[in-house]
């Protein structure tokens, strides 16, 4: 029942935002809806972690460990981004555009919450397509030449990917002819050993290519730096933090199905696709000139890391994969919120035109530095721990070459990210800005940054026991 309330809240908030008057109602309704959804999602996740899967409609709407983790992440990032939006979008003059922003924001969040709770693959496809389509207007929100161009490239590539994935799901449906289990993720697992392997492999490759475009896997990643640099920063936090994760989640769901078949080497596919993404992104990071593109490319890299970890095999690597999934979503959304405050403070996207941020705008400088350190995997922050556990698991599984390459790419990206951010944060401020007073950031933005920073710092040192149990369940969901 809870699941329906979680899904209903953003829909309700979308309606309120659309029909409200004034400038306060829409952001307040959005924030409250997201916060309650987060609370209910935590309750549902606790229930799942305690061993009782939440079933709303059997074989259609259910929640297991992996689903609960994604649901929790979407709700958490949506809440901080909603809080951040309050101050960030306040500069928008037209009330109508403001209300549209929030209505669309809520619909987008609704679609993302829908993906992990549905267990019927064909409906999951529809939900992922919805997340893609509902974000188009948000990407184009700034209505500049660049934003419209980014929205166009984004929609064409990801919708094309969606259509390819659709064929994959239809091929996947053929699996139900080999036995009488329902067409759900769990049903596919029981069917897999009896299904002829080429059917499963074709479906997997089509879905990997199709949803790989939505998740930002190389070579269909080209839209991602464009869209994630031009969209308003809270939207970037949602896009980079959870939207890509949601698409990757669908691909990850298929890994155990193919493994259950026993005759397909799905791990090779996952490692290959993952390493290519991580490698290409690591080299692209070295030459960026726009700090939002920097974080966007780091998303491509992390999608690659997670997929590689899922392919390394074994319980430890799978735990690393879901742990990385959690840390990436939280850290990356924090990074984009930090980038948003930098943008508010200096009003430019260019790395080269920002110097000495720590003096001109201390809050933005500190946030950017923390975000950069966290996402590049500096100890003792959360991403360091998950990346380290992936390497350790990779060595234990005797995947020396794959682990070595992955480590090299991670180190390369580490230096790339910190090289760029170091120049922005420290150094002498430009003379024009040196004398200026620090820009006053909106209170809600600072608050959202502080809230988003908590898990980034804490999860590297301490994971609450229920979350640990949830992560283990999610990892078990990848291993079966």
């Amino acid at each position: 029942m809870n699941l329906f309330v979680i899904l209903g809240l953003p829909l309700l908030a979308a309606l309120i935002s659309w029909f409200s008057r004034g400038r306060r109602v829409a952001p307040a309704a959005t924030l409250v809806a997201c916060a309650i959804a987060l609370f209910l999602a935590s309750a549902a996740a606790l229930q799942v972690a305690a061993g009782g899967p939440a079933i709303a409609i059997p074989n259609w709407v259910e929640l297991d460990g992996l689903g609960a983790l994604i649901l929790l992440l979407v709700a958490a990032v949506a809440t901080t981004a909603a809080l951040f939006s309050w101050g960030y979008i306040a500069g928008e003059r037209s009330d109508r555009r403001l209300r549209r922003y929030y209505a669309n924001y809520n619909l987008f969040v609704f679609a993302m919450l829908l993906v992990p709770v549905l267990v019927e693959p064909a409906l999951v496809w529809t939900a992922v397509e919805l997340t893609t389509v509902l974000a188009v207007y948000l990407v184009a929100f700034d209505n500049t030449h660049e934003a419209v161009e980014a929205a166009w490239k984004y929609s064409v590539l990801t919708i094309m990917g969606g259509a390819i994935a659709l064929l994959g799901f239809l091929v996947l449906f053929c699996a139900t002819r080999f036995g009488d289990a329902p067409f759900t993720w769990a049903g596919l697992l029981t069917l897999a050993p009896r299904v002829s392997p080429p059917v499963l492999e074709t479906a997997f490759v089509l879905i990997l290519v199709g949803f790989g475009a939505t998740a930002g896997l190389v070579p269909l990643h080209t839209w991602l730096p464009d869209a994630h640099s031009q969209a308003p920063s809270p939207i970037c936090a949602l896009l980079s933090g959870v939207k890509t994760t949601v698409a990757l989640y669908v691909i990850l769901r298929l890994v155990p199905v193919l493994n259950a078949s026993g005759r397909i080497d799905v791990d090779r596919w996952a490692i290959l696709a993952g390493l290519i993404s991580a490698g290409v992104a690591a080299f692209l990071i070295l030459q960026v000139t726009d700090y939002k593109r920097l974080f966007a490319l780091s998303t491509v890299e992390h999608m690659g890391i997670i997929l590689t970890a899922a392919g390394l095999g074994g319980a430890a690597a799978h735990y690393g994969a879901v742990y990385q999934l959690l840390n990436h979503a939280l850290t990356k959304s924090f990074c984009f919120l930090a980038a948003g405050t930098v943008l508010l403070a200096v009003d430019t996207h260019q790395i080269a035109s920002v110097r000495g941020l720590i003096r001109t705008s201390p809050a933005a400088g500190v946030a950017l530095l923390l975000g950069g350190l966290a996402i590049s995997g500096a100890p003792p922050l959360a991403v360091f721990l998950s990346e380290f556990s992936i390497f350790r698991a990779g060595i234990a599984q005797h995947h020396y070459i794959a682990t070595g390459l992955l480590a090299a790419f991670v180190v390369l990206a580490f230096f790339g990210i910190l090289y760029h951010l170091n120049r922005m944060v420290f150094g002498c401020p430009e003379p024009a800005r040196a004398g200026a007073l620090p820009v006053k950031l909106p209170t809600t933005c600072t608050l959202a940054l502080a809230l988003a920073a908590i898990p980034v710092v804490i999860f590297g040192m301490y994971i609450p026991p229920p979350l640990h149990a949830l992560l283990q369940m999610a990892a078990a969901g990848l291993s079966r």
Binding site: E120, A122, L123, T126, E129, L130, V133, L134, V136, Y137, A140, N143, H145, E146, V148, E149, A150, A151, W152, K153, S155, V156, I159, M160, A163, I164, L166, L167, L170, V171, F173, C174, T176, R177, F183, S196, P198, V199, T202, P225, D226, S229, Q230, L284, Q287, V288, T289, R293, H349, Q350, A352
Partner: protein, 226 residues
Amino acid sequence: MFNLSSALASLNGLAAGLFLLSSFGLVATRQMRGCLRFFSLQSIFLVMSAALLAFALRAPDLVAVAVLDLAIKPILIPWLLRRTVREEIFRRREIDQVLNIPSSLLLSLVLTLVAYFLTALLPAAAGDVASINLPVGLAGLLLGAYTLAVRREAVPQLIGLFGIENGALFAGIAIAPTLPLVAEMAFPFDMLIIALVIGILTRITHERLGTTGVGAFTSLREGAGK
């Protein structure tokens, strides 16, 4: 896997042939309106094949899907596009594209052959419905992707996207005719939302830039500084 009586099979073959022909039409036409018309035709042949299958399999689900598809794709989507996108865009002839039409048609022929060879590798292609629908659907998908790649205007690119989706569905009704009704119904509605959103995006592009020539979109590039 599903075998039809010979009359139904040849009717389905006819629908598939016409579907493929209208996919070629999408590649070959030079007018905005022609593009839209070929998409409508293509959708009608998709509905025809679905209806034949529904009749042969006695599947009331597929009838509902066919009716819904018939209402949404050839009628509602073109109407919606003409509502959201300015009429002057539809009056355009001579759509910009990267390759000229004769070479495009040759390449399309190659893509169709590729589709036939690819499906031959799949065990799901057994049975006389799938052996017709699967390669034709895959060819429709590849031709749609080709249209998307070479056209430089917003609306023809959108139609290319729909071509891809129609191709996937044309193959899909043969390999997964028993898909639950809820899921099947979701697909045409999904296309409707895509048409609406991209239609509006096209209008914004047109208002903002004065053109829908999306082929000239090059300001966002790796390392492109402002």
